[in-house]
């Protein structure tokens, strides 16, 4: 097929791509969001609101650094509060992005194509938020680098038995690999934007980051190989990062933390909340920029199916946790389990079960799986549920551990909420900026999809 003929191919329409789309129109469509299309009033409204959130987070960080972590509700015994729960929650959200881009790529799931780019961006932003919290949560955050092994005069190294050190590596590895993977995928699209940009500044900027991409066959061959290799590298991270995070808890001797089920349980929870966040972002995105042909109902439905599967896995984990507690006969494990049911955090526990186990069961109905509004609401519910789960694990276990005399509860302060909402705002703000300055859907991969679907039809 000549290149001229190829350029005229259009998509015959499939479950994952609407009909009538060709190379050029895809390029026009996606690039226009970045280059030409004026931002809508909704975008500006969201941008304005989240900017306030970003500023609030900045001020809150300033206040935190000046006064200390005591501005939060953390105490003894509950020395970890929202910060750690938020970190775990954000990291979990990030997982869906890596899962979609890496594992689904390796499994050759074509439906991932239109959602992988923004899912990866989501990963990056979520991990950025996640990385913020453990640093800020330190009593003396300015010494965070003591967790890194660097040569120093005092010959001091991190204490390798501590899961927090493993954590430090897990998160930093994750952030580096995610960034590389996302950037490598972006390069051909950056070149497209460079070529279409109207102003010199944009041409220069996109050009700089496009690294001289000219679309040569050699470029493509190397790009594809690198991309695949990176996907291979990223794949274990989907499992390993949250497993390591879970060890922060599982290694501890606190009843409610000390459990071997934590690694798989955390990974399942991560994918659960991650896919929920993908839906939360995808649904307004396709609506705002008329991307219904690219992000089709099939995409959403597939996402919903993953959600359902994860909901069942998570439910199984909850059940196993309870079973293990009673089966072990350990009075402290049993007590913490009962405390979750009837203790001070019982409302959170039951609300979490409603959000994470009960509500997602509605996805067994196909009608609901394809109902966009329902999916959007459900995704929010699941996000909330998973956040509550993280809070519950972190907080309720510490609140009532071995010594009843030392029991105490954590009550979030104003600043706890500012940090949570501020991080959500910053995440959304970054996403809003992202969709306006970079292609939220991979142009090159969508073009591939056109060709493949056309060939598939032919």
């Amino acid at each position: 097929m000549s290149s001229a003929a190829e350029a005229r191919i259009t998509s015959p329409g499939s479950a994952v791509l609407g009909p009538g789309w060709g190379y050029a129109s895809i390029g026009d469509k996606i690039a226009s969001i970045v280059l030409t299309r004026p931002a809508g009033r909704l975008w500006w409204l969201a941008f304005g609101l989240t900017s306030c959130g970003v500023v609030a987070l900045g001020l809150a960080i300033g206040h935190l650094l000046r006064r200390g972590v005591g501005i939060w509700g953390v105490d003894i015994p509950v020395a970890w509060g929202f910060a750690i729960a938020n970190c775990v929650w954000w990291i979990g959200i990030g997982h869906a992005g890596t899962f979609i881009s890496a594992i689904l790529l390796l499994l050759r799931q074509k439906w991932r194509t239109s959602i992988n780019r923004f899912a990866e961006a989501m990963t990056l932003f979520a991990v950025a938020m996640a990385g913020l919290f453990p640093l800020l949560h330190l009593g003396r955050p300015w010494f965070f680098y003591w967790l890194a092994p660097y040569p120093n005069k005092m010959d001091l190294w991190p204490q390798w038995r501590s899961p927090l050190v493993w954590d430090f590596f897990a998160i930093s590895t994750y952030i580096i690999v995610s960034l590389l993977f996302w950037y490598i995928g972006l390069v051909p699209d950056l070149a497209t934007l460079r070529d279409r940009a109207a102003t010199r500044f944009k041409r220069l900027t996109f050009g700089l980051f496009a690294l001289g991409w000219r679309g040569e066959a050699r470029h493509w061959a190397r790009h594809q190989r690198t991309y695949l290799l990176l996907a291979g590298l990223a794949t274990p991270l989907v499992v390993s990062v949250h497993s390591v995070i879970s060890l922060d808890f599982a290694i501890g001797n606190t009843p409610g933390y000390h459990s071997t089920i934590f690694p798989p349980y955390f990974v399942a929870g991560a994918l659960f909340s991650g896919f929920a966040m993908v839906l939360t972002l995808a649904i307004p995105l396709r609506r705002a920029f008329d991307l219904q042909d690219f992000i089709t109902t099939r995409h959403l439905e597939n996402g919903a199916k993953v959600l359902l599967a994860m909901a069942c896995l998570v439910a199984y984990s909850y059940a196993t946790e309870i079973f293990t507690a009673f089966y072990s006969g350990d009075r402290y494990e049993i007590a913490i389990t009962v405390q979750r049911w009837i203790g001070p955090y019982a409302p959170v526990y039951w609300a979490m079960l409603a959000c994470n186990v009960l509500t997602p069961q509605l996805l067994w109905f196909r009608r609901l799986r394809t109902n966009v509004v329902f999916l959007f609401v459900l995704s929010l519910v699941v996000n909330l549920g998973m956040w509550m789960e993280r809070v519950l694990i972190v907080v309720s276990s510490l609140a009532t551990d071995y010594m009843p005399s030392a029991w105490g509860i954590f009550i979030p302060t104003f600043w706890d909420w500012v940090f949570l909402l501020g991080s959500i705002s910053t995440f959304v703000w970054m996403f809003l900026v992202f969709v306006r300055v970079l292609p939220a859907i991979s142009i090159s991969e969508m073009r591939e999809l056109v060709r493949e679907s056309a060939e598939g039809k032919a």
Partner: protein
Amino acid sequence: MNDRIRRRPVIPLRDAAGEPISRRSALQWMAASLALGNGACTPAPEAQLFSAVTMPEAGRGDVPAYYASAFVRDGYALGVLVGTRDGRPIKIEGNAAHPSSLGATDVFAQASILELWDPDRSQLVRQRVPGAEVSTGEPATAVSTWDAFEAAWRQRAADLDVSRGRGLVVLTPRFTSPTQALQMRALLRRFPQARWHRHSPLTAGAARDGSRLAFGRELDTILHLDRARCVIALDADPFSDGPGQVRQARDWAAQRAGIGEGEKTRARGAPRSIAIEASPGLFGARADERVALAPVQIEVLVDEVVALVSGSADADGASPLARRLATALEHAGAASLLIAGRHLSAHTHAQIAKLHQRLGAWGHTLDAIEPLDGVEGLVPDSLQALVEDIDAGRVDTVLVVGGNPAYDSPGTVDFAEALRRVPFSAHLSLDRNETSGLATWHLPASHDYESWGDARGHDGTVTLLQPTIVPLYDSRSPIEWLAFLVDGERHAGKDLVQATWRSRQGLGRLTAGSEDPRFVAWWRTSLRAGFVEGSAAKPVPVPQALPIVAEPRSAATPLVAVFAPDPSLDAGRFANNGWLQELPRPLTKLTWDNALYLGQKTAAMHGLSTGDIARVEAGGRSIDAPVWILAEQAEGVATLPLGHGRRAAGRVGNGVGFDAFALQGEHDAPVAITLTRTGRSHRFAVTQHRIEQEGRELARSVIAGSSIAAGPAKPSLYPPITYPEHAWAMTIDLDACIGCNACTIACQAENNIPVVGAEEVARGRAMHWIRVDRYEADRPAGGSLFQPVPCMHCEDAPCEVVCPVGATVHDSEGLNVQVYNRCVGTRFCSNNCPYKVRRFNFLQYADESTETLKAMRNPDVTVRQRGVMEKCTYCVQRITRARLAAETSGVALSDGDVVTACESACPTRAIHFGDLRDAGSEIVRAKASPRHYAMLDELNTRPRTTYLARSIAAIGIEGRDTA
């Protein structure tokens, strides 16, 4: 660049007239300024100074020097050693030879060091500005000087000389100082028409009245709990009441230590402790049997017991409780001891005195002594009488020697209003309190640790006070002030005390400037010891009791209030003491507050629950107080802790809690009150929310004589570590612990532990390194199990493995140490600590700016920055000091060389610390006890701090073994 400098115009210096100043005159000005600056400095103290030719004993900054002195509370001395570093008093230890202390202290003595360094202490003489008022309606005052006051007094005294002292009143709190007693007599010799009034908020009024009823004269008692086989406390708490509390706790523990050890004890039956009380106290918490009764019911009970023991006819209707008590008393015979509290009537006190006589207890379990607070030839009048005199215009000069009567006078006596109207009044006090503001002159007093003085211990032992530091401010001690009042001349405190004792010893000065060597020797010996050997009051033979006329008992009211000193603030003296404000009250674990304690039924009847604010009314006066429901409280009795609600305590104590003095009657008898709901509520700051053990065996009890089986050694993945030199360890005997908190506050003083405030405590951020947990005792009689919890120094410490930066590690002697410099504050260690003994600086808690507080700190202990974790170190600085001393002296460390702060303060010797490598040490012996166990042993943390279980006597109340 150079150009720019060159081009900058030179501005010539000009003088006031605008004339340029020459270099010469500029230098002259500078020299003059320097000279002036020097002139503004405080002059050196007016005493002869000698340079150290040979190193004085307190000369080395790295070694603390201890001076024997006394902590005086409510007039009575507790012999203490004031530990100083670089000339700064920083820590109080008990004086082991002093009979009131025996080496231990109470919480107040420990916290007195903060009282000394309190930045809110009064620093300047102030004079009331006539006619002017500040916005709060209090009189306005202006800064003045001692010279001004002294001139004013000399003038006044001249007028008073003419009238032979008519209109002059000296108002003092209770004191036992022999020097002060002499001065009072001298003052009244100069002004024969003057009056002496005495007021202390917590008196022994009923006991003395009872003594008068029984014996026709006022006698005080000294209790010997170590000789008592059956102690019955009747609305009294020998562990917290009165000047002998430390000694009494010690004696009780010594008697109890015999339980279950040897046949001899068994034959005699274990010592019994029975508490009949309205409001739960420390003794009741530890008693073998405890019954909650209202004071009036206790009075009836006493009558019944007396009737039963004396076999009189009206014994038939006696209650089962009275019968059991009578049986127990008859069983114990002369080894019985009944202790009656302040709220019982004089009649009941007299009955008990008589009962002791019948049992033959006088001279055995208790002694009678002449009251220590009397002054020969003088009888003080009451505060009430003073107010009446002022109202009648009979008083024009009031000299208040310490105390705070404007705050701590009963609500029926409006001393504050009366004092305002007195034309000339002066108040000497440590802080500018409620009374200071109303007097025409406020004079700063020296702290006891800054002054020379003397006072008597609970048993009359004369205790000498010596200064451990030059007064921080221009202040006078009470005896210095009184000496000035007597003759209008300034006197040095040391001369005054020496003069007293020179005459008392019958040793005069040989010539001016040369002392009788016998006096010098006596003085040095007594000063070194801290007290005068053999000066305890001689027991008075108890006269045959007079017949006691039965008094008509006041009609029972549905609800009465009793007033109790706060376990931490006493009657308000310590309200500005942050350590004490933040010290959890033993039974409620309440901090920074007081509460109206009610029984469950009484509270339910009034529709009140814990945290509700109730309006309490008595005799037309009312206060609003938050309610706290205590399961152990007698129904129909509300307990109102005093000492709170201060208006002029200082920055720490102002407005904390409510002022219960407003409702207090003139006597200690219960006051009828009514309660109404206000609908408002209050949030308490407590450190422990749950008193159930949840079926966990944390604080354990064993039946006397039986033992706790030590489980088999559990396997560990960690390699065993040997400690070749020392292996430090601690045991805490729960059978001895009375929950008094002395350990907590001793630790706070030793280790520079910051105060965090009520809000932070309510958030769960109290910083105490050793907390005293209280659990319900698992026995039908109720009571409490107290469990002090410091760091366990686990051999396999869970905190160490989770710290990412290695900030908590083990040292070569088995201590789990915290490296503050390395800590980044992940708080994982605290999460992983099953005992929850780690404390985190969530905010900048340590006060880094107040100068006096800097001077107070222990220089051997780091002041922690915000963001770092801290916890009990086993007083590692003391271990190091002992090790260094051993190394320099060449004598190996022996058992008892290292004494931790908590161990040293403990009145009942519940805490033992020592080296496990020393086979003959106390700690090894304690660890071999059949009552020994490790808390949360199943976690295999292998704690170095372990416990000895509470021993439960397996006997019935009749005193017979039922086991």
